[in-house]
Subunit: 306 residues, 2 copies
């Protein structure tokens, strides 16, 4: 394992998922926001994963991370059971219900950054408790561009700490219903403008199969999702999207409206591969060349004849 | 009124709408698919309206059509009450419930094309009974490009006649849930491919605030909706979208994948103006210059930094 500093550090959950779709059921697959995010980012840059697993975490999953080229200096292995989540997707694959969540070792997770991670220039604070996001942020002396993700749970329960995170980051990602909830605004443009007023330079609102919107002081951009004929498991799509976005930004070493737009398109493409199979299966199987091929197809898809 | 042949003929409903949004309630406003469609198309080409109204139809509404430059040779005025619809929008403005529908004079509507309309090169068969769409089509000797819209009611009740319409048109527009229902396919790409197999060269799937998708044998394109800060009344957005699309195609006198893509962008822009006010109010107030201004903004919005 390299002791050099990665381009990007991503902190988040690592879990064993049990997933049911209208077509299939899988038990104990590799999941979690850090898994999907790092797998996506690793196509573009060197990425270090910060997360925790229990002693029941299969060695085979660690080897999957390694095969993806993810730096594991920040992966904590502790006594106890790994975080588990189970959910079921409805017929249209857009709505899902959580059946159970077992925090297990994730309950006492206290993410500490290995020394090389503290000087990494790009940092992604995945969807964990805002207090932990702040704890990581305080250690990230070298971070020049910080993005964070969040969810309804934190908006509803730990809003004050979340507001501190929002004030401190350069970019916030969240989905459309979470943006509405956070801002108390139904209209997404007004919601985004309100959030921009709280600190971040950029807000990315994720809309699942309907794509995403980028907001900045200077205006807004919209990007569609790559239309797929076959979606087998949408789990982790938003995380892979964020991972692709951050990976491309970190590889380019510059984050501005233009590079973020381009990076969002890559995020969309990587996420589209991810949902074609369960867990990280498809992300492990595709090459950077496959990504570039679909990126070109994506460009044609949104290239209007002006 | 000119007795020359318009570039485009649009047949559809004309109604008096009672609309309730979370913010406002309006009674007896001018509505119907032909109203919105023709108002949108009239920005770009000469358009003739085919529809029916009762003797209670306010003269002021006829003057609104005239102010928009809509050709009214095909507007039938008969004894009885005008078609009425009432509906209520939920808080997020995306879902609506129909409260009541009174067909009135629309029940016996038998659309007959005035002679100049029969030679018009572009024809749009708005969302009326498939039998009536076929009746119009049979009269349209000069139509070189025909598009049709439909809805769940006809898919569920008069499928056979609808399939005849689909086999006969060049382009079919319908919304995402209708496409799924018609094709019996949840995945939109597979649904569109199935519909393409039934005859039309193009299928446009409308997704409301999430934009639209264009499908052809050669592939697919996606176009977002223009993001709006203020939506006051979404009624007729899909009709205005189709009207803008057909108006631009008719003005250019050529329908192919490239011109349709461009026309869809204009459709999206015109529809975005339409929903900023009730009825045709905003479409009457804006100029072609306003349309072009927002078209440029729209182009920036989807112009990715490749």
């Amino acid at each position: 394992m390299s002791k050099t500093s990665p381009d990007l550090v991503m902190v988040g959950s690592i879990g064993l998922d049990t997933i049911e779709t209208p077509f299939e059921r899988r038990e104990g697959t590799l999941g979690g926001s850090a898994s999907y995010g790092c797998a996506a980012a690793a196509f573009f840059c060197s990425v270090g994963m910060v997360g925790v697993v229990g002693d029941d975490f299969p060695d085979g999953f660690v080897r999957q991370y390694e095969r993806l080229g993810i730096d594991l200096q920040g992966l904590q292995r502790v006594r106890g059971r790994t975080f588990r989540w189970s959910g079921v997707y409805e017929k249209d694959m857009n709505n899902r219900r959580t059946l159970s969540t077992e925090l297990n070792v994730f309950a006492d997770f206290r993410p500490d950054l290995p020394a090389p991670y503290r000087v990494a220039p790009f940092l992604f604070l995945g969807n964990i408790a805002p207090e932990l996001q702040l704890h990581v942020l305080a250690q990230a002396d070298g971070a020049r561009f910080v993005a964070a993700d969040t969810m309804d749970l934190w908006i509803n329960t730990t809003r004050e700490a979340l507001m501190e995170v929002i004030a401190a980051v350069d970019l916030l990602t969240l989905n459309d219903s979470e943006a509405r909830l956070l801002a108390g605004e139904n209209n997404l443009i007004r919601a985004a403008r309100k959030i921009l007023g709280w600190g971040p330079e950029y807000v990315v609102i994720k809309k699942g199969e309907h794509g995403a919107m980028l907001f900045a002081e200077s205006g807004c951009s919209v990007i569609p999702a790559f239309p797929l004929e076959e979606v087998r498991d949408p789990t982790g799509a938003g995380d892979a999207f964020a991972g692709g976005l951050m990976g491309v930004l970190a590889a380019g070493r510059a984050a501005n409206a233009a590079t973020i737009r381009r990076a969002l398109a890559y995020g969309s493409v990587v996420a589209s591969f991810g949902v074609e199979a369960f867990s990280l299966e498809r992300l492990i199987a595709v090459s950077r060349q496959d990504i570039e091929g679909r990126f070109r197809a994506f460009r044609d898809l949104v290239a209007w004849a002006w």
